[in-house]
């Protein structure tokens, strides 16, 4: 079982590195926000896996719960801000409302 936990942790870190590609060179701002949301959803599970590796799951489950709530509030706040501000002018296929 310990080998499975370790394999799942390394696999999730590799998937987070692949999502970081879309976060860095996404064409629009929404792509970057989506990549950060995917990384945060994987980090919530990864904190629990680290708790299983250390043998202190009583402590890490509270940290994972706090991280899930914080990630949700951050994504909501950023999406509200960007829909008020609009996308950048460099994005293609942007409707210019005059």
């Amino acid at each position: 079982m310990e080998h499975l936990i370790l394999f799942a942790s390394v696999f999730l870190v590799m998937l987070m590195m692949l999502s970081l590609y879309r976060t860095i060179i996404g064409p629009s701002t929404l792509d970057r926000l989506m990549g950060m949301n995917a990384i945060g959803a994987k980090t919530t599970v990864l904190i629990l896996l680290i708790g299983f590796i250390f043998g202190r799951i009583d402590m890490f489950v509270d940290i994972a719960l706090s991280y899930a709530m914080l990630n949700f509030i951050a994504v909501l706040t950023a999406s509200r801000y960007f829909q008020a501000r609009g996308m950048r002018k460099r994005d293609s296929n942007l409707r210019v409302e005059e």
Binding site: A8, V45, L48, V75, S79, M87
Partner: protein, 107 residues
């Protein structure tokens, strides 16, 4: 018990891999958000359920309380992850990003 936990954890890893491939390959913001919302939510749910089963293998009182906390995290992810995806799609529509059509260039 261990077989059920291994099956849930491997299923969750498979769904997360599919979501990441969808994020990297698809041509538009909205299609990528579709992939990220559905597959990351289901992968996280399967992984958390598998970890709750792993924690409840010795069947003590303290282990059952911690598994209940992991199930509370599962309920919170099940409610909040589609809400965050809907907020991002709403931001894209209100900022004026048009959806991708067949024949456009990849964005």
């Amino acid at each position: 018990m261990e077989t059920i936990a291994v099956i849930f954890i491997l299923t969750g890893l498979l769904f997360d891999l599919g979501g990441t491939i969808g994020i990297l390959r698809l041509p538009d913001v909205y299609t990528r958000l579709h992939m990220a919302g559905k597959l990351d939510t289901l992968g996280s749910l399967c992984l958390l359920l598998g970890l709750a089963v792993v924690n409840a293998i010795p069947l003590g009182t303290a282990e059952l309380f911690v598994s209940g906390k992991i199930l509370l995290i599962l309920i919170l992810v099940f409610i909040t992850s589609p809400t965050a995806t809907h907020a991002m799609v709403d931001a894209g529509i209100k900022a004026g990003l048009t959806p991708w059509r067949k024949g456009d260039m990849r964005r």
